[in-house]
């Protein structure tokens, strides 16, 4: 039996307290009025913006002169006031977005692991049963993680933030494209769908954990067989709900834009981060003297998955990017134009972190058997996929007003603390070795 060490408890609680304080501060310091927002931007930015603005206004003046109509001036005035309102919304959204991005990212670790776990169960894999309890520990975070997201979604639909522009009736009134999607994109239906996904995933996690524990002390393999059936069923349920979840919770922040492979893309991201988390926690537990039957063969297999799914993620990312870039259709390509212009560094930096690093570091077979190599690459992959989620949400919610500062760091800190606390407490609740699993012998003897 694993016992949560005091250090872990203190560490996770500290992270949570720091994160909560930081988030509280960023909510408190977000601007309340347009004037405050303008002031904040004027303070924090250099005069580059003003130069650009004056250039633009000169150009518009030149056009105005050629038309010499007084109506144009009025329009311009209206335009700049709506720009200020945008600015206010962006700045007000920032703490919310930071909270949402971190909540999504840590929930994805757990959901990706749950999918991986279900695949191991459904395929009756022989190498992985020794790691089942680690995976079950990570998926324990699914319930709190998904409930937090549900709460954020409910708060959004109560108009407490502007994460989802399509929830604003005034925006919808002036937007023909969103009007056409109202049948799907409306708050009650969104919440109902979210409850449906969350209930389904957590039900599988509950039932599978129950059978897994029951199998430890049972004389036949009936629990194992039931687990197999539930897992196969869950995978079918998961791939549909995961895809819809990615449209609802992520893609709809840009309600004009759509991509048909977005669900797969999000899945690849959560899958590789989930597998990486399994590897990191396994190596941590091994370093503390637990899981003595897990050896470098198992780490090697996790490393292969990290390598393979990183490449798979890149394949999907690129497939999505290249078609839209090549076709250059205005309503599609704006998605990438905002990212390349305003988010150049995180957008392209993420490719380096998520593709180049894992590709080069994990290509060699021997490197996948070295623990510190897996840990180092794993940390890079996790950072890269946080940035991936960041790039999915931020451009739509905070636009060019993004910055990696107190809200983002405290968001990560809070959810990392909660994640560590929940996961390690769950690991301590059951023996770390599923001794009754019929495939445990195969897993022990496993040589890659």
């Amino acid at each position: 039996m694993y016992k949560v060490s005091k250090n872990i408890k203190i560490f996770s609680l500290t992270l949570m307290v720091i994160g909560a304080l930081g988030l509280g501060f960023s909510f408190y310091s977000a601007p309340k009025t347009i004037e405050q927002a303008k002031e904040m931007v004027a303070d924090s930015h250099s005069d580059d913006h003003q130069k650009v603005e004056s250039q633009i206004s000169e150009e518009t003046h030149a056009i105005d002169d050629s038309h010499s109509s007084s109506g144009a001036h009025n329009e311009e005035g209206a335009h700049s006031s709506s720009h200020d309102e945008h600015l206010l919304h962006y700045l007000q959204n920032r703490p919310w977005s930071a909270l949402y991005v971190a909540a999504l990212f840590f929930m994805f670790l757990s959901l990706g692991t749950l999918a991986f776990y279900a695949i191991q169960r459904a395929s009756q894999a022989g190498w992985s049963p020794l790691l089942f309890r680690v995976m079950e520990g990570i998926t324990a975070y699914l319930l709190p993680g998904t409930l937090i997201i549900l709460v954020i979604l409910i708060l959004s639909s109560l108009h407490l933030n502007h994460l989802f522009v399509w929830m604003d009736p005034e925006v919808v009134a002036h937007d023909k494209i969103i009007q056409g999607k109202v049948g799907y994109l409306n708050s009650p239906f969104l919440i109902a769908r979210a409850i449906f996904y969350i209930a389904g995933w957590n039900f599988y996690r509950y039932i599978s954990r129950k059978y897994s524990i029951a199998q430890d002390n049972s004389s036949d393999i009936s629990n194992h067989t039931k687990n197999f059936k539930w897992s196969a069923g869950f995978l079918a349920f998961f791939i549909v709900t995961e895809s819809m979840m990615s449209w609802d919770w992520i893609m709809s922040v840009d309600p004009h834009w759509f991509s048909t492979l977005f669900g797969w893309y999000v899945f690849a991201s959560m899958f590789v981060s989930g597998i990486t988390t399994i590897a990191l926690i396994t190596i941590y537990l091994k370093s503390k003297g637990y899981l003595e039957k897990v050896n470098h063969n198992h780490i090697h297999d996790l490393g292969k998955f990290m390598f393979g799914v990183s490449v798979f993620w890149t394949y999907l990312w690129f497939s999505q990017f290249m078609l839209i870039w090549y076709a250059n259709i205005p309503e599609e390509v704006t998605y990438f134009i905002t990212r390349i212009e305003d988010y150049n560094f995180p957008f392209f930096g993420m490719i380096v972190l998520n593709f180049i690093f894992p590709l080069l570091l994990l290509m060699n077979s021997d490197y996948k058997r070295v623990n510190w190599f897996i840990v180092m690459t794993g940390i890079i992959i996790l950072i890269g996929h946080y940035v991936d989620v960041f790039n999915m949400i931020m451009p739509a919610t905070v636009g060019d007003q993004w910055y990696f500062g107190i809200p983002e760091i405290s968001g990560i800190s809070f959810f990392a603390g909660l994640f560590i606390y929940v996961v390690f407490n769950s690991l301590a609740k059951a023996p770390l070795e599923p001794s009754g699993d019929p495939l445990i012998k195969e897993s022990e003897k496993f040589v890659y």
Binding site: F318, F321, M322, W325, Y326, A327, N328, M363, S365, V447
Partner: protein, 177 residues
């Protein structure tokens, strides 16, 4: 040079593996094993060195990658500048996304083909080469261990007989004459 060859035939890959381990642990050196399919772990049991083909494959892939960059740059940018996707920038880096699939394909193409050619050269294989296996049924369901030896080989025969062997044959080594 050894003047005699012993052929030990097995009908199961597990029996073969056990025999290989037994013979090697009693210090007989096995010259060759013929199997109808790749037996998992046999290379380790035989004490073969790990293949260096993987390193070559990486190098070949890099060559293909560089060749693709050179080729696309020459064809699409230098020799006959192309308007790609309605973006007539005529710059390699700005049109990079449309070249990535070709870079990928040529990396795989070079790595795969050059690796096969290397493997052929290294194993002295070529098209229409006559098969060297001493017993045709090793391409069907039999496993064969080949050991070359000198003298009467009593100890060797006894050791082979101790394993779960189907058939033992001793023939003259034609190459040594």
């Amino acid at each position: 040079m050894a003047d005699k060859i012993l052929h030990a035939v097995y009908d199961d890959d597990d029996k073969l593996m056990d025999a290989v381990k037994d013979l090697r642990s009693s210090n007989f050196s096995i010259d060759e094993v013929y199997t109808p399919f790749p037996v998992h772990g046999l290379d380790k049991a035989l004490g073969l060195k790990p293949t260096r083909l993987a390193i070559l494959s990486f190098i070949y892939g890099c060559i293909g990658f560089c060749f693709a960059i050179f080729m696309m740059n020459y064809i699409m940018i230098v020799d006959w500048p192309q308007n790609i996707g309605g973006k007539p920038s005529f710059s390699f880096i700005e049109n990079l996304p449309s070249f990535v699939p070709i870079m990928f394909e040529l990396t795989v193409f070079f790595a795969a083909h050059l690796m096969v050619i290397t493997f052929y050269l290294r194993s002295k294989l070529w098209p229409f080469k006559e098969a060297e296996n001493p017993m045709p049924s090793t391409t069907d369901d039999k496993f064969l261990i080949e050991i070359k030896f000198n003298g009467d080989g009593k100890a060797l025969k006894a050791a082979v007989k101790k394993t779960d062997v189907l058939e033992v044959k001793i023939i003259d080594n034609k190459e040594s004459n």
